[in-house]
Amino acid sequence: MLLYVTQQFVNALSLGSLYALMAVGLAMVFGILRLINFAHGDLMMVAAYFAAFALFANLPLGLALVLMIGGTMGVGLLMERVAYRPIRGAPDVAALLTSFAVGQILQNGTLLFTRLIQKPIQIAFPSPELLNGVIAFGPVTVPRLNIVSLVTGVILLVLLSLFVTRTTLGLSMRAAAEDLSAAQLMGIDINRVIATAFAIGSGLAAVAGLLFAVQAGQINPYMGFTPVLKAFIAAVIGGFGSIAGAVVGGYVLGGLEVFLTAIPGIGDILPAGFVSPEVQAFLKQWLPASLTSYRDAFVFVALILVLLFRPNGILRRREREEMQ
């Protein structure tokens, strides 16, 4: 019982780290531009392809990582410059739809590229040795990937918070998020701030993309869609636009998902006598299939509930005007 709970707890934390890495990028851009950048998930996909091709070319892992992060940042900056800068100040929905179009371009661009070099749509991801296998802590065994996700996530998020609170550029970024035009009047170069937000968000998405690709074992041009939806939910749970909130939301969502996946096992691991045999039989029969396969539906119901009842996230006081 305790073993099971511990394992699931580690799963929740590592999944949460991935969502937090993704959600932070969404939240930074949203905080400054009020743009929900759905192409963020496709940055993750692009990163996975950079990593895969670097590893196929037998580059050392370190160099592959640098290429992956650098390449993804480049794509992120390009998309800001080409698509989002011209529509700055456009209505919410126009900007959101533009980000879908950008996502389509990235997906189909990747598809076209893999076609041109005659690779299949679905590629097996060449996981680096470092991320495979399990680590045993006494009786508890945890996939090494989960530990790496957790540690990487925490380190990067701590670095980010240092950047945002301790550097001038970080301070400018927070000022821009507070009030873009006031920040501009104070002499802050907002183009630089926005580019920085996109670069950092892309870099974090790249790391998340690598971890997702290792976990899934294969990559395809459409792999970014579900994660970006999840990251968006995480950001909303945390109060959209707040970096700290996005991190909290990421871990809450990771916990919720692992809980929904883990709960079907409850019927098997409850100690004897904890509940009556009838209840145990009932749990065993009904919990398994239904909860896990409906997980995504539950997660979106949670999103809609948060939007309706706590539109500023579970952390902040409620101010309905913002949403309506």
Binding site: V93, L97, T98, A101, V102, L112, P311
Partner: protein, 344 residues
């Protein structure tokens, strides 16, 4: 006299359409017939989306979910009993014996009834969903409705007693033809146009332009939004039914984001809030997408057509955000009226 002259424009347009359809029918060119059926179905989808998203400004990314429900709902109703037993053995007893195959002479009344029943049920779903979601605005409602799309997809995949889950739902009777599609398209066109000119339509536009100003002069926000959402879900479900009985086999993957984005592109190109714009946007994008698809098939550059459409989409938003027509209409009813009074 003016009334007659006013009716002349639309009647001439309808007559033109009927002649084109009759020629197509007589020509026996299956490719062009299929293209026109597709065009009609997309037109219904775009007009419906325009009604709820363009007129009220409450942007929905979940409409394709209604289309999916309409497709599955009507297909279950019209599936012949033998196929039903074979493919959907676990249907609840109440549905297992149902087969809408009534005919009125050669006219398949059962198809019409199945479409209507499915669409009414979907409209009820939309009423429930709308009561909750129409409270939100801006991009938050867009994402919440996207959540609805994901939820519908999860349910379709899991409710395999009704939908066969991820397996293909096939052997649907091919009732849909040019006449069905375009008759429905004309009905939708008429209704949407009427709603735009009605007090409800004016209320929709007013609360979109300035919610506080509209409220301060006594225009409620929820009723027009909800009406638009429910009516548009009804017609979207009709499009789903027409689609199901046209391609005759489909699976939940069809009704997802790619289709959503395609319909949105047509709407944005034409202009949100303009009925004529929806017609023009649909014709242009369906035509362009088809041309690009043929180039793609010939050159094997798969992905090219989507990239070009997405670039056009971004260019429209950057340089002509209101779409080609903005909110203006092409006044067919003034075609034969000389000068004089305005029509809308």
């Amino acid at each position: 006299m003016t009334d007659l002259r006013r009716a002349a424009g639309p009647l001439a347009a309808i007559l033109g359409l009927v002649i084109v359809l009759a020629l197509l029918q007589a020509s026996g060119l299956a490719y062009w017939q299929g293209l026109f059926i597709n065009l009609g179905i997309f037109l219904i989808l775009v007009l419906s989306l325009n009604l709820s998203s363009g007129f009220t400004g409450v942007f929905s990314l979940g409409h394709i979910g209604f289309m999916a429900l309409g497709a599955y709902g009507s297909a279950i109703l019209t599936l012949p009993l033998r196929e039903k037993q074979e493919y959907l053995p676990n249907l609840p007893a109440g549905l297992a014996g149902v087969h809408f195959d009534f005919h009125l002479g050669p006219f398949p009344l059962g198809f019409l009834l199945a479409t209507l029943v499915a669409a009414v049920l979907v409209a009820l779903v939309a009423l429930l969903v709308g009561l909750v979601l129409m409270r939100l605005s801006g991009h938050f409602v867009a994402v919440a409705t996207l959540g609805f799309l994901v939820i519908v997809r999860v349910i379709l995949f899991n409710a395999d007693h009704f939908t066969r889950g991820s397996r293909t739902f096939s052997n649907v009777t091919p009732y849909t033809d040019l006449w069905w599609v375009w008759a429905w398209a004309l009905v939708v066109l008429y209704v949407v146009r009427r709603i735009k000119r009605s007090p409800f339509g004016r209320a929709m536009l007013a609360q979109r332009e300035d919610r506080w100003a509209a409220q301060s002069i006594g225009i409620a926000v929820m009723p027009p939004r909800l009406l638009a959402f429910v009516v548009s879900a009804f017609f979207t479900a009709v499009a789903g039914s027409l689609y199901a009985h046209f391609i005759t086999s489909f699976s939940p993957t069809v009704f997802y984001f790619d289709l959503t984005f395609r319909v949105i592109t047509m709407l944005v190109v034409g202009g949100m809030g303009s009925v004529s714009g929806s017609v023009i946007g649909t014709v242009l994008v369906v035509g362009l997408a088809e041309a690009l698809r043929r180039i793609e098939d010939a050159t094997l550059l798969y992905g090219m057509s989507q990239i070009i459409l997405a670039v056009i989409f971004i260019l429209i938003i950057v340089f002509r955000r209101e779409g080609l027509l903005g909110q203006r209409e092409i006044a067919l009813d003034r075609l034969f009226v000389k000068g004089g009074e305005p029509s809308s």
